[in-house]
Every structure is written in structure tokens, then in C-alpha cells.
Symmetry: D2
Subunit: 362 residues, 4 copies
């Protein structure tokens, strides 16, 4: 399956950082979904670098929908979005063709593609490709919202500074899906930005924690074993280049508590069965229980840093030093948030259409 | 796909805790793999409860291979292992048919299967089903070992007690794959067992951290986006009932370090390219770099505890108290270790056969 | 995927002719479907050899449902049926271990499995395995019938003798699904049996044409390109060992007619849109139009014949003669009919659940 | 999966006849395959209408490869080809928006997509989309040829006129893959063209039989049950819009012969095991035996004819007459030949890479 994800909603990704175009094919979308190009543009803008804490490469992200939309609505046939690459200063990368950037995919790409990969700017491994995921996600985020399902991501922690948790989920989600730096507490937002600026001044980079919530998901979605909701969501999250860990509900904190406090008691509330807390992140036995799906991922520090690093030259098989030039981010976590919301939406939508049929989204 | 995992090596799981039998179909196994029933029996014994820190339900795990093996070797056609259920004290569960056990799958099963699920002992959601995964894993673990690829799991932490890390990987792996309580440091092992005993005395339960390493995996395995090695492994790990989080390499610790220390410098070592440390857990851009794959999961405390808990009765839709009886474990982490090793082996083998062809394992 | 078929309804097949058991796992079946073992027994009896025109190997086809059924209803979790092999006269085959039976899978199995295949009685390639498909099909045929969708197969032609077409489909289907030799016209049935008897006396074998109809299928099922209804059904039909061709509607007769007579005019009939004839077999552009799905397959003559044949001995790589002994059929077409109905039901059900959601069958 | 086909080589198709563009994503192609745009152009020209026996809509088929190729070679990452639509006289179709063209997909599209489909020129169901399949096929046909595997299709029969069979396969294939009207016997070619011209003059249309051969395929490829070579190839062939039947080897003629003549005797020839004839079309038990894979499909008469036909108006639900205008072909069989060769190449390549690993094609 490789670059295609999903069973009922199949998303296929393509493109290289410095190739002609990147893009995505969304197959299986319910016919009759309103496609609003302004909303796609909006979500793309959240992913785009901006201000001094991001890379100076700014792509306009001009996209074209070349199939699957007719008279403003999804047709139900494959919907293809093409984003042309325009700002591709390839020469930055040619100098370092054989110098593998540490903790990038340069060396593993060499191992897998035997030198035929497009090495410029990370090629097919570039974070640039996530723009196509966001374009696809934009459509699905809004379609799910119309069904009452809200999805949003905030930065939970950067450099020891922690955001507050969700309070009124719907309005918090609305706020986050309009924020270039998605943090709920504005004071913490400033502190986080300062942390990044400081790291940037040192030519270094930093990561952090993203927390995503899916609110109002129907009960009984997911599968007991190999296709548990956790399995499907984690499969998708690890597609985001910098994600190196994921936890649901209490996650790694489960090691610090016992069953007595870890278990979520069930309660009848207005005739509806709920849990009185949500340590399991809305999922038991791989299946949704109707509580919000709640998970966090760790974003590793951007591997591109301005400091000199040890590496190898694969043309000579010798140890060398590398000083990465070009444009790169001291942190990508604020840009990754909308990517995480997007791929969550795609995976959730796939599970819902598999469960309730292909017309369910309408 | 639901209960089937894999592309080149397809594993299908079936059975309920108190049904006639559980089992597994392994399809796509390279023909000519020696099948040693004693080794399957050995690995099953590691998963089986034993001693005072485990449930008193002891199944002999008598299995039959009913297809796919001929004259002691895999045929290449579907290999089916059936494990009959014998020790099924179903009455324990009938009393609590409508009382949902908190943080179990009782309620989500009800939501998904509308009352038709086999509720006895967790039915298809029971940890019992993992015996079938271990039976399958046993074959693959040994087959990979014959190709020089070693996989093992140890308990990294329980209740604040931490094991040492791997030193000589091959001999450590050998030790762990023969341990009923897989901890490398014997003193820490005793301390962990004490922690569990204490929790058990309180009628409570505890979880912890499992760490798995895949040693000597070829370079260039995995896919850049949706089928990254992290995606495929995490998909599989979240099939293990109690897993609620996974991290690769430094994982969640990446939030505490900057790019300068997070990056793994590349070095030439005896003509081979390696990284001088392994913060990325052997994977860059979703693809193996030849360093050991290294990941940890968090196992939540067993949801079955002897303490009284709040819950609902779904036949009356009222709030009730539940006191879980029957046989259950204060901790399952030591039993889950071999399950984690098994499913890792299955997922790794699938990726290898997809990459190098279906005869590669021979 | 290999021995697993389907997306929403996944069927996994296993077993060898002379191994311990054959069987099938049905995953994704809607919970709450009544499982009637007598009906499974009934359909299995239609596949079983009987009378003088079939092989003398008669298996009782005693099956056990070991998972997925609770209190007489499907649970929604994997439903596994095991059929033990009992009548396995393996010695018949040992003598011809290295003598490849012409037009059997002996030689291709050798090429694929490098000598590790279970060669006895065709191993995993044996028509015996279709009993598991029929057991699965029996459940689905009846479940679809309860939704008003009727499926049946008759022998359209053997040795120049042709059956009449369907008239009252529902009663014809009922008749066929109770016939050991499923021919609608009883006179033609006698003639066909005579043809087979004559061929049998000569130690030879014969094939013929099977015609299957799916009646009352909803409109709008299927996909435009790679998962057209024809694609999915043909994929499944070629799983039946002797099928070597398939045609939908007019099929190969389309070469003899022009567009004017080939096209099916659309008409309003009692407010419903229908076609006034059904040359396209109920499918346009890969999608159902509500008319009966109508297709025919050709069954090749059974490759096991008593006549001496030219072949090779793969242990010596020399040309040899082979005289096949053991028990075999002069024709299997009458036994293949219920297999074809079964796999049609499975494929149709998979498409319906993918389209309308996993609970649709209830 | 819908518009994505394949496991190791995944092909995703998109586009509508009168949308902005059509295209294809080829994922899993071995890195390092030479990509020759002139060859793609060449194969596309064979599919394009030409002369008086084809539609007057002539698209230049200008394509762009926007990803997956670097410095003239495949990178191994998704290779995307975009073909812009330019000659789209959409008004021809607006008049008949609600008048369903008989035996087209107009009505089934309405049933599936509820009025949201792009109805112009057949939308996503248009034969135009096959240009994308040919562009993908062109790359694979040549790559397989470099591995010694030759694939070609000829018109076996139109209107009672039959072509000769293959003689020297390699040179015949070379000839056919350069022919706009792929018939081996030039006299028969003229006769077939006359048949088509005559049908065209009557405003009618005609179909015929295509025969495809895959020469020099390795032994031991394919799977015993659900993924037999026949299953996979037929699945793919029924993606070609007009195909309504497929047969392997003797196919439907098997009904006319007995086992004695149907069976293919095995022989040792120059140390290699072959069959002395090829009634089974190179496949036994779903697996290749090394003989040429040989199958034929029936192409139904083009449903667009100039004659008046009965149909319905779905906006009024009334019976109406339709007179199809616009540009259409009296026969598409000569254009479908290269489509059939292309999709055969794709399916064969997928099976080979699954069997021998992803680098096999190099």
C-alpha cells in the first residue's frame, strides 16, 4: 500500500520537495460534499511557515483540484489536488548531495532507492509533502464538523512550557483551527515562542508535544485486534515525519498509577452512558466508547540545525563534517499541528465510512 | 481487514475466551521453514500465567497445527494453529452479564455488536487470544533468528523500578526469550515482583513499560509515508490489549532535548555506515538505517481489580457497583512481553518479505 | 492477501486435502445473523460426491464452528469453521509423488513451493478445500435471502445438452439450491447425466457451463474502475479450481451482435427504472443497475482421468507415462455449482457491506 | 481500494472526461527504471483515435510527469502522470443530461452518486481515462521487456473475420506494439476495417475479441486460491470499460472437449519442463507454469450509436427516445488493445514484485 492509506476512504500521496508538483488523491469521498477552496486555502495557510520562528521558504501553496469535484460538490470519484512547486532553490542541496544530513532520511533513502531518489530538499521525504495531506484534511475536517464531529490539535508542551487542557471543546477547537500557533493559553503561547526564538538564535532546534482530540465520535467504531482505533490512528500519525511517539489517554502516565485510579468508571448521564473520566482516551478494546478520543504525540527536534555535525560522505565512504545551509525551521511543531488534525480527520473518516457505509458523510 | 494483518505475511486471528477454540492462520510463510512444536510450546509457556503474581486460570495451551506443515516444514500455504479452550469457568461471568467492567471492552463490545457478542471472559477481546499470536510469533521469531535477526523484549520499568538496558544484545535476547519474568537485572526483577505482590495484596493492579529491540535488521526496509516502519509496528503493538502508548528511540524524551543532542551523527565503522548513537531507534524517514530498531510501549494496569467500582447495568440503564470476581492478574506486563516480541516478529517479517520477496526467509 | 478475500467481509481459507483439517474464517459478518448448522450441512451435501457419476471418496464433512457464534447467532467477530479430514487414503498418491499429473497444479506447486508442498491429493490445491467455501457460503446465501437477495447456479450446458433459462427466479433458485444435480429442465438433466456416464466409462472426463444469477441486488453497488462488480466477481470465480472463463450477460456473444441489438433500452416500469432486456448482465460501468446479475463460467474437464498420459518425473527430469489411480470424478460441474453460488454470495455480501455499512445484513 | 490496484505495484487512477485533467499514480516501481517520454507518447498514440473508423475527438494527450522521476530514472517513490483535458466540447452532453444513454454508465452513476457525478462525456467512466492506464502501462511494458518478458495483444476476431495466431512471439509482439490496428495478418486487417466501416455507415457499432499473450513469464508466480493469476488478471481486465468476458487458454471451448484432449502433457525440452500444448493458458492451480499466459476478452459493441434508442428521462421519470450526438467510435476494439496490454503489464508486474521483491525489475 505504501503511499495509499485507508479502505473506504483511500488517500494517495505523491510528490517531491523540488519536483514539479506534489499532490493527493482522495478516493471514496461521499458524493455531495461541498468543496470550499477558501477553506482549503485557510488550512494550508496554518501549515505554511510564517514569521521569524519558521523557515524563509514560503510557498504560495497554489493548488488546483483537477478531478472529483463538479459544480462545487464532491462527485464521489477520486478527488485530486495538485500543488505546484515554485520556490525550489535546488542548488542549496547539490553541494551536500553525498553528505548525509544526520537524522534526516538522506541515508535511508540511499539504502532503499540505491541513489535514484530525488535528494533535493529531502525529496519525497520532505515535510513539504504534508501540504497535500492538509489540503485533503481540510475537506474532511469540515465534512466531519458538519456531522457534529470536531477535531483539533494544540501544542501541549514546548521546552517545559505547558498549555492548559481543553475546556469548552467546540469553541477551543474553533480557536485552534484558526491559529497559526495553536496554543489555548495565550500567555503560554508567548513563552513557547520565546523558547523557540532562543533555540533558533543558537542555531539549534526543538520539538515538543502535540495533543489531539476528536469530539463527538459515535460509539462502537473500530475493531478488536489489528484494526483498533489506536492501531489505525497511530499508523497514520507516524506518517508525520517528526512524530516519534504516541500515547492515548493517560498514555505513559499509566506506569505511575494503579488500576484503581486508572480505570474509568461508567455512569448514566441524561440517559446516556459515559465514563466519569477519560484515562483511556475514548477507546476500550480498540473501539470507541463515545468519550472524546484523546491522544498526544511527541515531535522530535527538527533535524536541520545550523551547527556543524559529524556525518559521512557516501561517495567516498569517509567521515566528514556537515554544516547544513538552506532554509529550515528551528521548530515545526506549530506547523505540524494542522497536519496532525488533518491526518486524524482522514483516518477517522475512513473508519466511519467503513462502519456506516460510503454515503454516511452526507 | 479487521482480524487480518499484513501484506506478504498475512496473519488472521480468531476465537473467544470461552468458546471452543482460539487460533491463527499464517499465510505467506516461506516454504521450507522448520516447524518445531517444542519451540511453540516453549514460547506459549512464557505467556502462560505462573506463580502467585498471575491469574489462577491455567490453560495447558494444547495446540494443533491443522494445515500448512508437512513433514516438519512449512509448505508455504496457510499454516493454521488451533488452541482448544478447556478451562472455561463461564459461570463466573454470567452474574455480571449486564454489569460493564470499567475500562474493559464490555461496553464498547455492546455498542459494536449490539448484544450478540460472547461476553464470557471478555470474549474475542480476551487476553487469552494473544496465545494464538504467540504461537504464530514463535515460528517467526526462530525463522528470523536463523537469518541473523534477533528480537527480544524486557520489562523496562514497573512501579518506579527500572531494568538495565541491553548490553550484549544476542545473549541478552537469548536470556529474555527464556524468561518467565523478562528482566535483565536479577535484582531489579526481585524488586519488580515485590511491587506486583504488594499491589496484588491490595486487590489492585499495575502496569509498566516494555522495551523491544530488533537487532540486525537490514537497511532500507519500510516506506516513506503511510507504511513507515513506525506506522506498521505501532499498528501491530496497539493490537496488544493493554498497550496505550508507544515511542521509538528517545520517544517522549525528545521534548527535553534539542536538535544538537537529538541528532544521531553518522560514522563509518569497519567500512559500514552506522550512527554513533541511536536516538531515532533505527528508523529515519520511516525506513531502517541498520541500527537496532528500539521502541517502548506502556502497558496500562490490568482493568480487572478486586476493589469495588462504579459502573452501569446496561439492562436497566442504572448506576451500580461492581465487584469483579473470577480469576485475574494483578499485572500482565511480564506475560505481555512475549506477545510484544511475537507481534514485532510478525510485522518485521511481513516488511522483509514485501521488500525482498516471499522466499527470503529460507 | 493470498488466501484472504474481501474488504468488509473477509474470508480466509486454509487446509490441505490430506492434512488434519480444512477450514475457513469469516470476518466482518454482521452480528445477530442466525446460524443454522442444518443449513450448512444441507449445502455441504450438495457439494459432496454422490452416485455413480462422482468420486468414491465420500467425506462426512463433519464441521465444527469454533468461534464467532454465540447462542445461535453470529457475534460479529471472526467465525471459524473447521472440517476435519477423515477419509484420506494418502498411499494412492505417494506412488506418483514425482510424476506430475498433467493440467493439475502438481508442477506449479513444485515451482512455487520448491518441494515443500503437501503433494497428497493435490494438497492445498484440492477441490476438497471448496467444502470450506461452501460452509461459509451457506451462511451468507441464507443471510442475503433474508434481505430479499436470491442467488442460484444451474448447469447451462454439458456436452451439447443445454438447460432452459430461469423463469420464475425465486422458485427456480429455491429448486436449484436443493438439487444435487442443479438443472432446471428434468429431461435435460437426464441427458446430461448420460453424457457424463458415457465419458466416465471411457475413463475420460468432461466440463461444461455454469450460469449464476443474483436476483434483487440493490442499484448503485460496485466501483467504476478496478473494483467493478465484474472485477470482484471474476476475481472470486477464478478461485474455483476448474473455472477457465467467465462472461457477463451476452458475454462472448457480444462479438456476434452490433450496438443496436446489444444495448439494453431503459424503461420506466411501475415507477421503477429497468432495462427491457439484460444483455449487460445487470452491470453498467462496473456498477449494478438493479437488473439481475447474470454470468456464466466454463468448467474445464476434470484433469484426473484414467487414461494413460504423457508427463515428466521431476526427480529424474525424464519423460514418463502416468496412469492416475485413486478416486476421481468424471465431472465435477454439478458439485461446482454450489461452490459458485457460495463464492458469489461471499463477494456480493462484501460489496454490500462496504457500500451500506457493516450492520446492513441484519 | 476502488481506484487503486495492486499490492507491491499500486496504481491509482483519477479524472473525468471533461474535467481539468486525468492521471495516474504508480507507486512501488523499482528505482532506477529508465523513463522514456517518447515511449509513453508512442503507446498513447496507439490508443488515440485515428482515421475514419474512430471518433473525431482527438486529444493531443500531452502529459506531464510531476513526481517520481529524477534525472530520467524512476526514483521508486510515487510516479505521477497528469494528462490535461483540452478538447472538451461539453455542450454536446448538456442537452442529454437527464436522458440516460442505454448501456452506458449514466444511470448506474446516478444510482451510486445521487446526481453529483460529472455527467459530461461519461465523466469518470469515460474511455478517455484509459489514456492514463496506457501511460502507466507504457513504462511497465518496456521495463518487463528489459527483463525478457514480452506482452502483446491482437484483435482475434471482428464480425466473423479472424486473425492468425502468434507465430514468432517476440517479433509478433514488436509488430503489434507498433500497430494502430493490431492484427497480425494484413489481409484480415483490411477485412476487419471494412466490417467496421460498414457498421459505421449504418450508425451502428461493433465489438470483437482481443487476445493477449505474456511470453517468458517466470514459473511459480501467483497464488492457489483468491489471488490466482486468472483472478488477478481478470480483475484487472474487467476494469477496461467494454470488456464483458474473459477466457484463459481454451476457455469456453473446454465445454467441447474431454479431459483426454484438454490436458496439457508435460515434457522435458532441453532440460526444461514444458507442456507440449497450452490449453490451460500457462496457468495451473492459479500459478504460472512457464508457458505463455494466453487469454482472450470479448469487447462489447460501443454503446454510443447514432440510431435512435428507447430510454428514460430521470428528471421526469418518463419513457423517451434518445439520439446520441457528439463524437463517438463505431468500434473501440483496436484502441482497447493497447489498454489491455497495459493493464496486463501492470498486473503481471505487481505479481512479480510481490513474489521476487521490490527491486526485481531492475
Amino acid at each position: 500500500m505504501k503511499n495509499t492509506f485507508g479502505q473506504s476512504l483511500c488517500v494517495t500521496l505523491f510528490g517531491e520537495s523540488h519536483g514539479e508538483a506534489i499532490g493527493v488523491v482522495i478516493d471514496g469521498l461521499t458524493p455531495g460534499i461541498k468543496i470550499d477552496e477558501l477553506r482549503i486555502r485557510h488550512f494550508l495557510s496554518l501549515r505554511r511557515p510564517s514569521g521569524k520562528i519558521s523557515t524563509k521558504r514560503v510557498e504560495p501553496d497554489n493548488f488546483r483540484i483537477v478531478s472529483g469535484v463538479f459544480d462545487g460538490y464532491s462527485t464521489g470519484t477520486p478527488l485530486t489536488i495538485i500543488i505546484e512547486n515554485t520556490s525550489t532553490r535546488s542548488r542549496d542541496y547539490e553541494k551536500t548531495r553525498y553528505l548525509m544530513r544526520p537524522s534526516h532520511a538522506d541515508y535511508t533513502a540511499e539504502c532503499k532507492y540505491h541513489g535514484f531518489q530525488d535528494y533535493r530538499g529531502g525529496g519525497h521525504f520532505s515535510g513539504r509533502i504534508t501540504a497535500a495531506l492538509v489540503a485533503a484534511g481540510a475537506i474532511i475536517i469540515d465534512a466531519l464538523k458538519n456531522k457534529g464531529i470536531h477535531i483539533a490539535t494544540h501544542i501541549k508542551e514546548i521546552g517545559g512550557v505547558s498549555d492548559r487542557g481543553f475546556e469548552d471543546f467546540v469553541s477551543d477547537a474553533e480557536f485552534l483551527n484558526n491559529s497559526e500557533f495553536p496554543v489555548l493559553d495565550s500567555e503560554k503561547m508567548s513563552q513557547m515562542k520565546e523558547v523557540i526564538s532562543k533555540v533558533a538564535q543558537e542555531g539549534d532546534s526543538i520539538g515538543g508535544i502535540l495533543n489531539t482530540v476528536v469530539y463527538n465520535i459515535p460509539k462502537g467504531v473500530g475493531e478488536p485486534w489489528f484494526d483498533s482505533v489506536e492501531s489505525v490512528l497511530s499508523h497514520m500519525m507516524f506518517s508525520i515525519p517528526a512524530v516519534k511517539g504516541i500515547e492515548f489517554g493517560e498514555g505513559f502516565n499509566f506506569k505511575n498509577i494503579t488500576g484503581k485510579t486508572a480505570n474509568d468508571p461508567l455512569r448514566v448521564q441524561n440517559g446516556n452512558i459515559v465514563t466519569s473520566k477519560n484515562a483511556n482516551g475514548g477507546i476500550n478494546g480498540g473501539i470507541t466508547n463515545g468519550m472524546p478520543i484523546d491522544f498526544s504525540t511527541v515531535i522530535k527536534p527538527t533535524p536541520s540545525i545550523y551547527k556543524e555535525q559529524d556525518t559521512v560522505d557516501i561517495s567516498t565512504n569517509t567521515n566528514e563534517k556537515i554544516q547544513i545551509e538552506g532554509r529550515h525551521d528551528p521548530a515545526i511543531i506549530h506547523r505540524a499541528a494542522i497536519v496532525q488534525t488533518s491526518v486524524t480527520a482522514i483516518a477517522i473518516c475512513d473508519m466511519l465510512l467503513s462502519r456506516f457505509g460510503t454515503d454516511w458523510l452526507k
